[in-house]
């Protein structure tokens, strides 16, 4: 790819307004709840009160009799008319239906749905549904689920193990044998998620005239229409997902397949539009949007100088009752399984188990944040063991800047990086020496104070070859993104993308790159979202990939537009293309600039003057480009080594915390982050995602948890119990960017959407443990709730 970076850039990397913001500040965003169709009916769902119970009978008569109720549907009725929802892994006996059939498998699972004139009546009707349950003992603890030999979440599957894989990259035994020392630790990542402020919602309208099911949904995944079609048994081309809907945050989780199946089915049955907007309680308990819940047991081999030689990792993940794509979150981290360090070999055992909890979905980073937390804990644990400074050990293990591209044991080539410089920038920003003094002064005054250090990677770009790693029959190597660019007869440019946007500013990104490439003011470029029937192929805005992938597609399409303009000019000026120069849409003779074609003339020829078109050229002025992920397309080698993600961003975090020893309460008082995602397309957007991700990571580290009691009851359905940080919990963040361009992308950009989330939990854990260090204590489980910290400090029972 012919790359434009650095000073040549006119719009890219410059501070510019984010075009999406205008509709949001004026209250004109169009979220799914804002889409109003005449005669729409409203759905509400009935959750199971039991984590595991046989459904003996459901009596819906009273509910159906209520005035204003159009229909009540149970799982049994629904299942008769649909297929189970396809899971990521082939698990034929793990049957996932939109409503529970015969058995409820977690507290909050939907067992029936009501459709009524409005949401109030729908909820009135829920109270009238009678369900006879036979409660059964649930399986809650993931270790128990793994060991269990006869109590199964899905009895037909014959086990609670959904996936169990072993990987070996390099001579682990040899490295452990020759290393000076080794140690073992356990780290636990608690069950949390992204929890967007907008819940999931879907609205469906079956059009009998066209036989098309129109869907509006707060969906992140355009390819969910395939799942929808498969589940409903409809042809794919009879479903039209409207992607001009604003999504109120997602970060991975907005995948509402069962919700959309339900409204699609009901709208066709009832011949009216039906909408289901999850309320907050339903969303938290039954929206199947929980995140990784993971136990790591890690052995680390190292030399006495702090050089880390090898890792043996066992990761046990609790996927909840219905796994969806959850198990793959164990595989993506293989792309950066040694973090930014020169670790020589790795053994990785990955286990996904089912329990009677709400289902897990992909969450920001797709398993990388927990893995980074574990890797950073390994580094800090070794440092502590050797009494070596946490910075020094990193300096000794970080991949040097002259080693790129650098291949790690699992096969990824890291594209570029300058980890030492970025770490130093972070330290400078934090005024590290002063920070040390501040910490030590606080300690001298009897307070518990700590500095966190975390140096983490953010793989970007995606590539679902990880599916193949888990299941070699899944021969999927394509991971594309596409766009179409149209120049209209007035010469105005319109870009068409094939996904929704959920806060990442894709329209701004797309317009900026088109403007850069075509040399037009991006603000004058229109961006639209194609619906799923008219969109080009896409794999959706996951994996910190849109800057890389939509950026690449936009650059490719802009190139085709330019080529076409050049061909028209060459033909009309009777010059070879090499003699022509493109500048802001005008094409002129290099040798005689007075000989030229303006943009308006080119557009006129393209649309109106067939006789001036080069022979064989189709009329019109548009281009499509489907961009395959750089480095994608290969299968793993015999050692299971493969390039998963193409680009690797880097972040260095330096937070400062103090802990109130009396209450265990942690205050994050300062935070510095240095970040390198190559070329930044829009500085405000990248900064927002870095800081927003970081705040999300503070939540995961200290506050956020989906709690269950010993009986499997879900305890965190409200925002008073699931504790997302408010502005008071987030410190003033200092941030600095560094730019090591990626050689693989259109403008040197890398991914940044997963942002600070991939390092902040590790950094906060490092800071808390630094604060606890003088007491000889450490905490190895997230979130680090104040009650647990206090119990540790005061040595009492939790």
């Amino acid at each position: 790819m012919n790359q434009k970076t650095g000073d040549n850039l006119r719009y890219v990397a410059h501070k510019r307004r984010v075009r999406e913001d205008r509709r949001f500040v004026t209250g004109k965003g169009k979220f799914v709840q804002d889409v109003a169709l005449p005669e729409t009916k409203h759905a509400a769902v009935l959750p199971s009160p039991y984590p595991r119970a046989r459904i003996l009978a459901i009596d819906t008569t009273a509910a159906e009799a209520l005035e204003g109720v159009a229909m009540v549907l149970t799982g049994q009725q629904m299942a008769a008319d649909c297929n189970p929802i396809r899971l990521g892994l082939k698990l034929p006996e793990v049957k996932w239906y939109p409503l529970a059939v015969e058995m409820a498998r977690y507290a909050g699972e939907w067992v029936a749905i009501v459709v009524a004139d409005n949401a109030y009546i729908a909820e009135d009707a829920l109270e009238l549904i009678q369900v006879d349950y036979e409660p059964l003992a649930p399986i809650i603890d993931p270790e128990q689920a793994f060991a269990e030999t006869d109590l199964f979440v899905h009895p037909g599957h014959g086990s609670n193990v959904l996936y169990h894989g072993n990987f070996l990259w390099g001579d682990v035994d040899g490295d452990f044998a020759t290393a000076d020392d080794s140690l073992t630790f356990r780290a636990r990542w608690g069950r949390s998620s992204t929890v967007p402020i907008e819940t999931f919602g879907a609205l469906a309208r079956w059009d009998e005239g066209t036989e098309i099911l129109d869907i509006w949904a707060s969906i992140q995944m355009p390819n969910f229409v395939e799942l929808l079609a498969n589940t409903l048994g409809y042809p794919l081309n009879s479903i039209r997902l409207h992607q001009d809907v604003d999504v109120g945050g997602s970060y991975g989780v907005k995948r509402g397949i069962k919700q959309s199946v339900l409204v699609g089915y009901l709208s066709r049955k009832l011949r009216v539009p039906v909408r289901l907007i999850e309320d907050r309680l339903v969303n938290m308990a039954g929206g199947d949007a929980h995140g990784p819940d993971r136990i790591f047991d890690t052995d680390v081999a190292f030399n006495s100088d702090g050089i880390i030689k090898s890792l043996k990792i066992r990761a046990l993940d609790d996927a909840g009752a219905y796994p969806g794509r959850a198990p793959f979150q164990l595989a993506k981290p293989i792309s950066a399984i040694v973090g930014p360090y020169t670790i020589n070999s790795v053994k990785y055992e990955a286990i996904s188990v089912a329990t009677n909890k709400t289902g897990q979905v992909p969450v920001r980073g797709f398993g990388q944040a927990p893995t980074n937390y574990m890797i950073e804990m390994a580094v800090d644990t070794v440092a502590r063991h050797l009494n070596l400074d946490r910075l020094e050990i990193r300096r000794r293990n970080l991949i040097p800047s002259d080693a790129f591209p650098y291949q790690i044991p699992s096969g990824s080539n890291y594209d570029s990086g300058d980890y030492h410089t970025v770490l130093q920038k972070g330290l400078d920003l934090a005024r590290y020496d002063e920070l040390l003094q501040r910490r030590d002064r606080a300690r001298a005054e009897g307070r518990l104070a700590g500095i966190g250090i975390a140096t983490c990677l953010e793989p970007g770009g995606g590539n679902n070859i990880f599916e193949y790693l888990m299941d070699p029959t899944a021969e999927i190597t394509t991971f594309m993104e596409a766009c179409e660019v149209k120049v209209d007869p007035q010469g105005k440019i319109t870009g068409m993308m094939g996904t929704t946007t959920s806060g990442q500013g894709h329209e701004t990104l797309f317009a900026t790159i088109l403007g850069e490439e075509l040399e037009f003011d991006p603000d004058l470029i229109r961006i639209v979202h194609a619906d799923s029937l008219s969109a080009l192929p896409t794999r959706s805005p996951v994996a910190s990939r849109m800057a890389i992938m939509l950026g690449g597609a936009a650059t490719g399409a802009a190139g085709k537009i330019k080529d076409r303009a050049m061909a028209i000019a060459a033909f009309n000026l009777d010059l070879p293309v090499e003699d022509l120069e493109y500048s802001g849409g005008t094409i002129s003779d290099r040798n005689d600039p007075s000989r030229k074609l303006t943009w308006a003339e080119i557009c006129f020829i393209a649309y109106r003057a067939y006789h001036k078109l080069p022979p064989g050229m189709e009329p019109g002025f548009h281009a499509q480009y489907v961009f395959q992920v750089p480095g994608g397309g290969q299968l793993p080698d015999a050692q299971n080594r493969v390039q998963i993600y193409p680009c690797f961003s880097f972040q260095a975090h330096v937070p400062y915390v103090e802990i109130d020893p009396g209450t265990g309460k942690v205050s994050v008082l300062d935070y510095a982050i240095a970040h390198d995602c190559g070329t930044v397309i829009n500085p405000d957007i990248v900064r927002g995602m870095v800081i927003g991700g970081l705040a999300h990571g503070i939540g995961a580290a200290l506050y956020e948890k989906f709690s269950y009691d010993g009986e499997g009851q879900f305890l965190s359905a409200t925002f008073a119990d699931y504790l997302m940080p408010s502005v008071h919990e987030i410190p003033d963040v200092k941030d600095v960017e560094h730019c090591t361009p990626s050689p693989l992308t259109s403008h040197g950009q890398k991914g940044s959407g997963e942002g600070g989330y991939l390092g902040a939990p590790a950094a906060i854990a490092s800071a808390v443990n630094d604060a606890l260090h003088p007491l000889g204590l450490s905490i190895t489980e997230l979130p680090m709730r104040m009650s647990e910290i206090e119990a540790l400090i005061n040595n009492g029972p939790g």
Binding site: V25, G27, I197, H728
Partner: protein, 161 residues
């Protein structure tokens, strides 16, 4: 349990409607009046996405019945724009400092900020934090929101001089 007739001023316009007493002011504004700028985040009073001004005071519209707004003046995010619908000064500052990502919490943030700046043209960071402390944002980490409010404050102060 029949419907009640209510009359209130919404963004300066008088609105009359008939609603069941159990309907929240939030649902009334969105579903009956069609002002969808006010958002639904939790419906139990924690997230602040539903914030509006009631007689110029910021409150949560999910924690009030629509019938209780009878005779009062409500301002929603739509009411912060200029007469011609273009963004007002505060809204402009949020654009310039990119005080949002997905835009879902944004109306609530703007309402809280509007009330703050009406009383306090030169707020400190702590005062800004107190003003938006009851508005959750999942996207931004709040930093650019605080900067947006500071920018609006400084512009409004300059304009006032």
């Amino acid at each position: 349990m029949s419907k009640r007739e209510i009359t209130l001023s919404i963004n300066g316009k008088t609105h009359t409607g008939a609603i069941e007493p159990r309907v929240s002011l939030l649902d009334f504004l969105r579903d009956e009046v069609g002002l969808t700028g006010t958002h639904v985040g939790c419906e139990h009073g924690v997230c602040g996405a539903c914030s509006i001004l009631l007689d110029d005071v910021p409150i949560r519209s999910c924690l009030m019945l629509a019938v209780q707004a009878d005779g009062h003046a409500v301002t929603t995010v739509e009411g912060l724009s200029n007469q011609d619908g273009s963004p007002g000064a505060l809204q402009d500052a949020f654009q310039d400092a990119h005080g949002m990502q997905c835009g879902y919490c944004t109306p609530g943030m703007l309402i809280s900020a509007q009330a703050l700046l009406a009383d306090n043209p030169d707020p400190s960071v702590d005062e800004i934090k107190d003003a938006i402390g009851g508005n959750l944002c999942r996207c931004t980490g709040y930093v650019q929101i605080i900067e947006s409010i500071q920018l609006a404050a400084s512009r409004l102060r300059e304009a006032g001089q």
